[in-house]
Symmetry: D2
């Protein structure tokens, strides 16, 4: 039986299918295997600084394995080192990390498990710097964390994006249309690349391979020349034209209304319609990619992460992130985990495979 008696856990950042599977595995392994009890903090770091908790026992996590979302709630707003605050009527930020340390101590916790992406793990790393024992569990549908081969949630997002492409495929073919699908990926193009490969995307545009609009136009025309009357284009939200900026959602003031615009997808659709003089339709998948029941792959990976974190906690391992290396779950230093993003290498085997089957990346 471990000397560790009680640990905390929170889920931070954007939603991600598999969070509940992590919590279930963590709590069950902690309880059954090590006699450790688990305190859940609500809504990410917000619950930690405001002392809002949910006691997590095996019964409470029973049945949540297949469910999307997180029973703890999440938030990507309350960075303890930079909490939005109004002082003397002026909007600003305040450092409430001492509150976090105090709450942590008040519960007599031996460790805090942070399930999060780049942002949440960076905060966790800072708390570790203040002396809080931390275990990280990587979480991002973008799959862009450098210290692990894969993150849970990605396979589910990929499946949602591929099913969308399958649907657009039949309707594009019937109507001889150019169909543009914008998927998530602000810095890394993993979802666009793999959904494009799986869904037969004719053109794939990702942040790591800046494109020219001329090349995309050319790809559509060349297909038409070969009798293919439709073209499917997958574009990551963070894709960018050569020499250009990353597209970002922006607000347009239009007489009376201000309207948030989709970025890359709508821009590309409008641009192509102008240049091609034919019907182009754009779809932005958006938050659909963050929801739904996790795929079996994600449920298993999330479960294994949760089990490993509980075991590490019991063994006194700290200041690391659990990670997948090949077929095994292992750990990586927290510092390394947040040091850099895992981007698509334009020269990698998988990109070359996509080119081999005829996919264009807009840089030809």
């Amino acid at each position: 039986m471990s000397k560790v008696k009680r640990i905390g856990v929170l889920t931070g950042g954007g939603d991600c299918p598999g969070l509940n599977a992590v919590l279930r595995a963590l709590v069950k392994t902690a309880a059954y295997g090590h006699g450790i009890s688990v305190v859940g903090f609500l809504d990410g770091f917000s619950g930690l600084i405001r002392d809002r908790t949910l006691r997590l026992e095996p019964d409470r996590v029973s049945g949540i394995l297949p469910r999307g979302g997180t029973i703890l709630g999440s938030s990507n707003k309350d960075n303890p080192f930079r909490v939005p605050a109004v002082t003397d009527g002026v909007k600003g930020f305040e450092d409430r990390s001492d509150d976090a340390m105090r709450v942590f101590a008040a519960y007599g916790l031996d460790l805090l498990v942070v399930v999060g992406g780049d942002g949440s793990l960076t905060i966790a790393h800072q708390l570790a710097g203040k002396g809080m024992p931390i275990l990280g569990i990587p979480k991002t549908i973008d799959n862009d964390l450098a210290a692990t081969d894969l993150t849970f949630g990605f396979d589910t997002a990929l499946t949602t994006a591929t099913e969308a492409l399958d649907k657009l495929h039949t309707t594009a073919a019937s109507h001889h249309r150019v169909q543009v699908l914008e998927v998530m990926g602000r810095y890394a193009g993993w979802i666009a690349l793999q959904a494009g490969l799986a869904g037969g995307g004719d053109v794939i545009l990702i942040p790591e391979i800046p494109f020219t609009i001329d090349s995309v136009v050319e790809a559509v025309k060349e297909r038409a020349f070969r009798g293919r009357t439709f073209t499917l284009i997958v574009i990551a939200e963070g894709a960018r034209a050569q020499g250009g900026e990353r597209f970002v959602s922006r607000v347009v003031e239009d007489s009376t209304d201000s309207v948030r615009l989709g970025g890359a997808g709508y821009w590309l659709s409008a641009e192509l319609e102008k240049r091609l003089d034919r019907e182009v339709r754009g779809t932005v998948l958006g938050h659909l990619q963050r929801g739904g029941s996790p795929t079996p792959f994600d449920r298993i990976l999330a479960t294994r992460y949760g089990v490993h974190a509980a075991n590490c906690a019991a063994q006194g391992v700290r200041q690391v992130m659990v990670a997948l290396k090949g077929m095994e779950i292992t750990t990586a230093p927290l510092a390394e985990a947040v040091a850099q993003l895992r981007l698509v290498d334009p020269e990698s085997q998988i990109v070359r495979a996509a080119r081999a089957v005829g996919t264009r990346f807009g840089d030809e």
Copy 2:
């Protein structure tokens, strides 16, 4: 054996899951049951006026039952009475309905089967007026044709919209968000209403029940007051504020780019975010609703329409549309089919059922 020897068929208007199932059933029944051969016109009325065809035999339609789209292609551009044309450098339209009559005659056809929605069936009705024997098959994912109880494609679109709501539900709940989902329905709110009922939408906004933004804001706040930290809103693309216009996609000139904006969904998201001072996320499902493999319900309905049309063709029935009445397939005069749309009755049982379980329509 019928005196009818050869019939034509075309699929017109927007894409709709089940078109291939109709073609398969029509061709098989015509061939096996009546010895009638079928000529398919490509890309809607375009193929009819330009004489572009595909011979449809049982072998060619084998295996297409579960596939989205239409092997004939479709188009919503080439109304034979109003074909886009350039005369003396001026863009305009010309009447090519005589070409349509000529091609029809040249193939020695006894009848033309038109699978289409309101637009295509109106054209078919006009061709009937010129003497062309017509059989209509109703097709619209919006389910807004008055002369039939149900159209195929609707159940598939409803399923796609409901699955989207299921996904948004988990992520909205985890992040305490207001999530807005825009679905199809320019004049009739059937998809929004039924997807909202099936997916647990808290607020449903449809063209038939004009809303006030105050009422929607109130619904979100009331939920928050009762401890429900998230709200799911389903809005039809044709929904409109009381006293206001129908939202339509519009183009905004933003310094260098012109951008097509989503209508109702994005507008509402921006408006709510402003008024509620909290995170609101909008998703526009768009063409995903027109694609994909048809549901069993749609495959069966489409098959029954195709069979019935072939039988009607053989029996010399003309100038009607096949239609579902209760559990039976029957026919309705073509004139009646295009006379009016089938809208949601705000006082109907199904709307009252939605209100009974707590759904708001923005008119309270």
Copy 3:
């Protein structure tokens, strides 16, 4: 506000997707619309005679709309008029219907809502005979209740069966196999008929149309003659050969083990393999058809039933079953509801449609 203050509800018989949607709609409508509170009895009539209950409030039914199963539990064992009992060491039955009446009275209930199929509604009818006010809600995946056009659960079962056929289709085609799929339907062949239509079944065998094995063999051979190297056969569990008995699961004593055999599906597979001298594969879908998240269609129908039952309860309507007639929910006398089953009419339009596209029923 209604004079009715408190009602009970139970879910009886086999599992059926949509039960939770019924409970949610019933409880919400009762509470919000009529100020009626609802007591749930656990595990069907078992909870009624043993006084095991769950208080159902709007909060408790929140979020269960998309879930399969029933939060009340179900059972098809405890008929109050015939409860298994051991008296003086002898297994027998006892009448505990007076216990049911007593528990009903003890809770001060104005009405009992019974969600059930043929069996449960017959019991409810008997309790009505003893003076208990009853409202029935029809529930059966078999869709074989005469007094309603459709029951919830059927569309979900149909979808599961059709997806199975879609999967078997690709593998049958690749391996040139005869694939037999056994689906539910002891007396009525609705699932087999409609899944066969939707999934492109080449042969459909249902209880209402007794088949000959010779005709089935002939159908396979004829397809082979036309170059179709595979055949998909859908068989209802209650299908029967002409002049033969209904297949039922039976137990075979095989030296040491007794083994429960699937009925119709395995029998047919073995028989065809013998006669055709080629690979035949049988699959029995079984309980998969009773599980899973209900389709949008079923969620809506179940919700409408629940709402209507609550409204009827408030208005003092008793001894009826809610029912779908065309597009409206209405009521039918309970006596009528249990009087007879709704079977497939071999001469009906839908059977003739299946024949028209080339489907065989084994009676040719």
Copy 4:
């Protein structure tokens, strides 16, 4: 441009989702990248010895990426070294491998690509021994090939099995049942293990960990003691009791009929029902696991295998199998590929993870 001009390909053994994706990628890469043409042999080795072929050009493989099955057909009967034959009225086998060599030579092929599992690759290895240049592509839904980390088809089978468990879960919980699901895996328990992990199986029985029926009975009782009224059991078809034989489908002579019995699943269901005196339901997934559209993961892996095989073919690499090692596609000697199976290690991290969350393996 490669010196290689023309290669052959065949798909052998049991069906597997992703075969079409392999063919598409192979043909496109061969044509676009290397100017190599591809001849497809029909129905596995059968087409090779009988000279039945399909010319595979990019147009012919267009659109097949998402489809299950194989457009080439498959067979697991015609081992060229042991073809069923009747000589002088006696059933036996003949060696027709020389026919295979002759046909291969007649088409002027530089190489034969064999997409197959253990059986087909062993045959390919033997043909290599006779001098035929071979490239293997691993294919098995069981994921039991030692020389590669993963095979395509497995993720799809896993998904089908997990969806079945999700469905059984709701109905088991509602009816307080023991539900047994038999999945594929004659020698390796990968599907049972991972589907069990993903679907929350309470007991997982696999060939690599022989079980005792007492232990399984104990697991069900212990759950009941803790208030869990249902138990989900996943059993691989090749699971076996300690000291016992592997279960295999067997034929029982029952008066007039001979009936093929499911093996492990039905046996276990009957046995448990006897010992527990409560309702146990068994479902055998069977061929559903081999069908359907491949998951995105499988489509990508299959595509990468196809691309890599074409590249290897062009570069003159022979007598190897393409394989996944970590994140990269590489090659392994054909001899190594068929040397041994990849089994579940009972002491592996993933098995221990399953035990950590409370899963029983019947050996406790």
